[in-house]
Amino acid sequence: MSHDSHNHSHGHDHSHGGHELPFWRKYIFSTDHKVIGLQYGITAVFFLLFGFSLMLLMRWQLAFPKQAIPLIGKLFTEDGVLSPELYNQFGAMHGTIMVFLGVVPLAVGAFGNYLVPLQVGAHDMAFPKLNMMSYWVYFVGGIVMLLSFMTPTGAAASGWTSYPPLSVVNGPGEGFWGGLFTGQSMWLLGMVFLITSSLLGSVNTIVTAIQLRVKGLSFMRWPVLVWAQVTTAFLLLLAFPPLEAAGIMQLMDRVGGTSFFMPSGLVVSGEAWKASGGGNPILWQHLFWFLAHPEVYVLILPAVGIVGEIIAVNTKKPLYGYKTLVYSMLFLGFMSFIVWAHHMFMTGMGVTMSTFFQATTMIISVPSVIILTTYLLTLWGASIRYTVPMLFATAFLPMFAIGGLTGLPLGLTASDIHLHDTYYVIGHFHYVVAPGTLFALMAGVYHWYPKISGRFMSDTLGKIHFWLSVIAINGVFMPMFFMGMAGVSRRLYDQTVYAHGLAAQPLNVIMSVSAWILAIAQLPFLYNMATSWKWGKKAESNNPWGATTLEWAASSPPPHENFTTPVEVYRAPYEYSSNKKLLPQFVQEA
């Protein structure tokens, strides 16, 4: 795909006097933020599809326990039935891949890389070589994760949260190298790569956004997407290192025989655990959630930014309360660092700390509500143009609302007693991430496609994709709330073992069928993305949607150094002219 994109931009390269680079410098080890953005995007989509297919297989076992998977089951096990070992591996890797290799690289790596320099009017990222390195470190991390399936004991199988002692005692391996070449150790190594990549990327994003702003672009003139990406970058920068430290310690526990997370007196399958003991398994949870709660906002903030841009363009009026929105995002980002222990209410926490964390959790719901409200109020008095990206962006609003609201019973300790670690939790965060973030990202793909390729994606296919997805995705996640209410624990290989699980089993069939329909619904999207590159309707102007931000000042696709003529910013991102029409930031009013 990236190959074609640059055939288009050739002309610009020449006219700009850029010297010809060899193929591998231009498309593979490129330092151009746009090529890197596309590399991130394509890799992330691959991982998203891979992580999704793991879940599609697991959903067969959940809907029809202990029955052989038709057609392809024999590839995995002898009798075609997904074994509990594989189920746990797929579960852990589904979570890891979707979050760390799919959504974050797509939202931050791809959209951030492609759009932030354009939106601030820069010619490239501040550190282009670092940018390239960040992609390749991510790539290696992804490969390490995939290779972990090849180890003798298979991939990591302790959930994406990797709680010790389970993650340490699971398939420990013999000796140092034997211990290293196991699923969980490879998972930890892979995480170290991914964290490093994120750090490089976030340093780059922040410096680019702050230092390379074009003339006239003060902070309060940043588009919401830039604000969202910068906040996200800070979260990645400051929340990820504790997990890196924790990852190193868990790796030491696995291959070095230390006891950071292993308490004294452990007896595993009848044998005393051979390590000194004296560690604390809860410490891992603290360090893990110190990252993983901000990570939730890493997932949602870029989506909020994308939706904001699309709503502003397609309602053809300014975003309501831009400043409130910006401060809410910053507040959200900051607060996300002090709510993490609400994931740990069941670890025997005292009343004082649990009350503290309930309170911070309730406080953090306020900026989320404000963000949603500003978007809803923007719709008032608008003239809504229902393009495909706008459809996805409008669907984001109620889906995100469901995801947010269902966080309330989980954030309050008393109701959490029943709902903790049930399907209710899964429903809650999937509503935030799947029909929330992923819908926003899809909207982003449809919206910026004409900028990236110079051509539109098909509207008809887009609408088919939208309606099928929106129905199917609710079929997948809505029943989870009922199942969670019924008390079905998450990560169960076969819930029909339990009486209350058996009673709720019909819901599993609905969810699985919906998931498979959802998979089919993505085919028109992929086909659309691939074919529109060559055969899509040509975008006649640089700014086909009538958008207001700087990326639409560049030609489509933008040439190697983005802007061939100098650009300048004259006003805040969402303002209108004297004739009551939205006016781009980069156009001087006559």
Binding site: V268, W273, T355, A401, L408, H418, D494
Partner: protein
């Protein structure tokens, strides 16, 4: 004892404290429903009313001052604060903190392992025998020292938690290997069992019946299989069961002085 009715919503509640939790859950869901339906109606109205059509222009200046949303937001904050201060925190404190006196309650130890529950009754002396890791084997899952005078009459009940109805139960929860989660759906009881820690919890059942213990925390390949049984009996039934167990452990009362290892 009739089988409990399970379905697509909360399982039946047979605990003294569960009603409070259920009330909070339903209050919250009403609150959420009101908000969601309110937003939803507004959204649908906007999507229809303000659609792009000939002769309709976006009003770029019209929404400079909305006041209603501000009040709604303040309302939401107040409601959330009330839910936290008057419901969630006090319920949590009662459930997790206000323990009954040990003399008025039945105290049992529950130890989780991959993939079973071991329930340990202290016996008539009310004292638990010492647990020693080196004594752990296939027949003695928690390593109870039968030579400890306190441990002679202790009863070990693998996977069966039998309790009398209308009596306060204190569970001392721990785990041998990895983190598990002791979940009694019908009792609204859920607590992580963490190796290296003993975490107490308490509850009281109001109805008899045969229920289940579920593990709610991924604990390995047999996570699903970690199903325990939770039987709430009348006091008479419980006494009968207990005497039976004691008899099979100690033989006749006269043999109580013999080394108890032989009885196992």
């Amino acid at each position: 004892m009739e089988q409990p009715k399970y379905g697509f919503w909360l399982p039946p509640n047979i605990s003294t404290h569960g009603a409070e939790i259920d009330n909070l859950i339903s209050t919250l869901h009403w609150f959420m429903a009101v908000l969601f339906i309110g937003w939803g109606l507004y959204l649908v109205y906007c999507l229809f009313k303000f659609r792009e059509r000939p002769g309709h222009e976006a009003d770029v200046t019209g929404n400079a001052h909305f006041v209603l949303p501000k009040y709604i937001e303040i309302g939401i904050i107040i409601i959330e604060a009330c839910l936290l201060i008057f419901f969630s925190a006090p319920i949590w404190a009662r459930v997790k903190q206000d323990f009954p006196k040990e003399s008025e309650a039945l105290v049992v130890k529950v130890t989780a392992e991959q993939f079973a529950w071991t329930i340990h009754y202290p016996g008539r002396d009310g004292k638990f025998g010492q647990l020693k890791n080196e004594l752990i084997d296939g027949t003695n899952p928690t390593g109870l020292d039968r030579n400890d005078p306190n441990g002679v009459d202790d009863i070990i009940s693998p996977n069966f938690l039998n309790i009398p109805v209308n009596k306060k139960i204190i569970v001392q929860l721990s785990a041998k290997d990895v983190i598990h989660n002791f979940f009694l759906p019908v009792m609204r009881v859920k607590q992580d069992a963490i190796p290296g820690m003993t975490i107490p919890l308490w509850f009281e059942a109001t109805q008899t019946g045969k229920f289940e213990i579920a593990c709610a925390q991924l604990c390995g390949v047999g996570h699903t299989q970690m199903r325990g049984f939770f039987n709430v009996m009348t006091q008479e039934e419980y006494d009968a069961w207990y005497n039976e167990e004691e008899k099979s452990l100690l033989g006749d009362a006269a043999t109580a002085t013999e080394p108890t290892g032989e009885n196992k």
